[in-house]
């Protein structure tokens, strides 16, 4: 199985120069106050992993992987584990950068604010990827990408309407009460989302005819 994880990590490594340049641009923008670094986490992780799916499809890796020992099982598992590794690495980099930039600008360390923001963007990243991967396996990157954009915009539009016309105060109260336990609720929800997504992807891939 390690080989399948390596395959995705080596693909990411192949694009490391472009990623480093992008990161540098964002750091400069964050220093100038033009961009919040927390945005970088979902953007980078989703973009990087999406490109691995595109390369896989272009070179029909999914079919080739099945000819390898335990290919159907380990190909999907490898993708999810590589994603988790990537998310951990980018989260560490972005957390360190966020603290550095915040401190350089304000000379204080606002631990709760920064961790809260990072955790929020981590949640968004995992939510997006949890929906994206099964769609990628089912429909391929081209269709899945369009589908994801439609869903994200759809949710944003519906959300806009709901907040305008529906009284959400009871729900906000409930979220506030959960909020005190956010250090537990958020990670558990994220792990659960990824696990369900992995199981769905594996089911799709297991039945897939190539």
């Amino acid at each position: 199985m390690l080989g399948f994880i390596k395959k995705d990590l080596l693909m990411i490594k192949s694009n490391i120069k472009i990623l480093a340049i992008l990161l540098l641009i964002y750091i400069v923008m964050a220093f100038q106050g033009q961009m919040d670094l927390s945005f970088l986490l979902p953007f980078m992780s989703v973009m990087i992993m999406m490109s691995t799916f595109s390369y896989d499809t272009f070179n029909k890796w999914d079919a080739y992987a099945i000819t390898l020992p335990n290919g159907r099982k380990n190909s999907v598992r490898g993708k999810y584990i590589a994603t988790i590794i990537l998310i951990i690495v980018t989260t560490i980099i972005i957390t360190a950068l966020s603290f550095t930039i915040f401190y350089a600008k304000t000379k204080i360390i606002d631990f709760e604010n920064i961790i809260g923001t990072i955790l929020g963007s981590l949640f968004a990243t995992i939510l997006l990827q949890s929906f994206m991967y099964p769609a990628m396996y089912k429909f391929g990157p081209e269709k899945a990408r369009i589908g994801i954009f439609v869903v994200v915009f759809g949710v944003a539009i519906i959300g806009g309407f709901v907040t305008k016309y529906v009284d959400l105060s009871p729900m906000i109260k409930m979220l506030d009460s959960i909020g005190t336990y956010w250090m537990i609720v958020f990670p558990v929800t994220m792990i659960l989302m990824l696990y369900i997504s992995y199981k769905v992807s594996q089911r799709i891939y297991f039945k897939k005819e190539i």
Partner: protein, 285 residues
């Protein structure tokens, strides 16, 4: 003789195409050439053997094991080269070694790099920078570097120049030398198969229409070239198919010696696989 591959009554239905009761038997230590025109069912059969398609009926056994139940064990002993299916092109041959050594128990890095050197392939260049022929050679090197017992190859020599094709064919021949290993390969380049295949299996329209040893086909089968008058004297039972060209009739027969004894026709040639394919597909009865 022990069989390394057995396909029994394989059926698979697509819209507009159907594999019908495909039966294939490949003994250990042999090379089987799988021929047929485009869309005849070669790749579908190979995909079923490799478990790339699932919704089919019939039984497929490799090394005496069921291809679905003993998938991992089987895949450890198989090397596959499929048409345009490989590693993502941003990876390098070095990356492939790094990955494969953690996928196959028997991956042999030394052997892999030896093949890369023999094929003059670079270690550190991305696959996308390689020519089609080099890429094919890399696919073949990757398929045999874990000491598989069976190679399943879909058009392995397509895109290769004659020198490279020769190298690859030599490699296949040395691969089966220990008599424990076998090769199942589909190819349009029938001259390659005439050199290396022990068995030829011919698929047309999803049906296996012929499966014989190379000797039987190339020594016994023949092509009779004759006039219309001569053709009309031949009993229908004595030929398989015929094709009418502008000046003569070309007739496919099963046994040149038997035919020669019965009819007084001088032009009875040995048949090539290409002629056999054309007559079987385009001929009439």
């Amino acid at each position: 003789m022990e069989n390394i591959l057995e396909v029994n009554n394989l059926c698979k239905k697509y819209k507009g195409f159907e594999l019908q009761n495909v039966n294939i038997t490949l003994p250990k230590g042999m090379i089987m050439g799988f021929i047929g025109e485009n869309g005849a069912g070669k790749t579908t059969t190979i995909k079923a053997i490799l478990d790339l398609i699932r919704d089919y009926t019939g039984k497929i056994k490799l090394f005496g094991l069921d291809n679905r139940e003993d998938n991992k064990k089987i895949k450890e002993n198989i090397g596959a080269v499929l048409d345009d299916m490989f590693f993502p092109e941003i990876l390098t041959p070095n990356d492939i070694n790094n990955i494969m050594k953690d996928i196959y128990k028997n991956w042999d890095s030394k052997l892999y790099f030896k093949y890369l050197t023999d094929f003059s392939l670079p270690n550190n260049k991305a696959i996308k920078t390689l020519s089609k022929g080099m890429r094919k050679k890399l696919e073949i090197a990757t398929a045999i570097s874990h000491h598989p017992q069976l190679l399943i190859l879909d058009e392995p020599t397509s895109g290769l120049d004659p020198v490279a094709r020769n190298e690859v064919i030599d490699l296949f021949q040395s691969f089966i030398q220990n008599e424990e290993c076998s090769i199942f390969l589909s190819s349009h380049i029938t001259t390659d198969l005439e050199h290396i295949a022990d068995y030829i299996t011919f698929i047309n329209n999803g049906n296996i229409i012929l499966s014989k040893t190379r000797e039987e086909l190339l020594e016994d089968y023949g092509i009779v070239k004759c006039s219309k008058e001569e053709f009309e004297k031949i009993d229908e039972k004595d030929f398989i198919q015929y094709k009418k060209s502008k000046y003569e009739y070309e007739i496919l027969i099963e046994n040149r010696k038997v035919f020669n004894k019965k009819y007084d026709i001088d032009t009875i040639d040995k048949i090539t696989l290409e002629e056999l394919m054309v007559l079987m597909i385009k001929g009439e009865k």
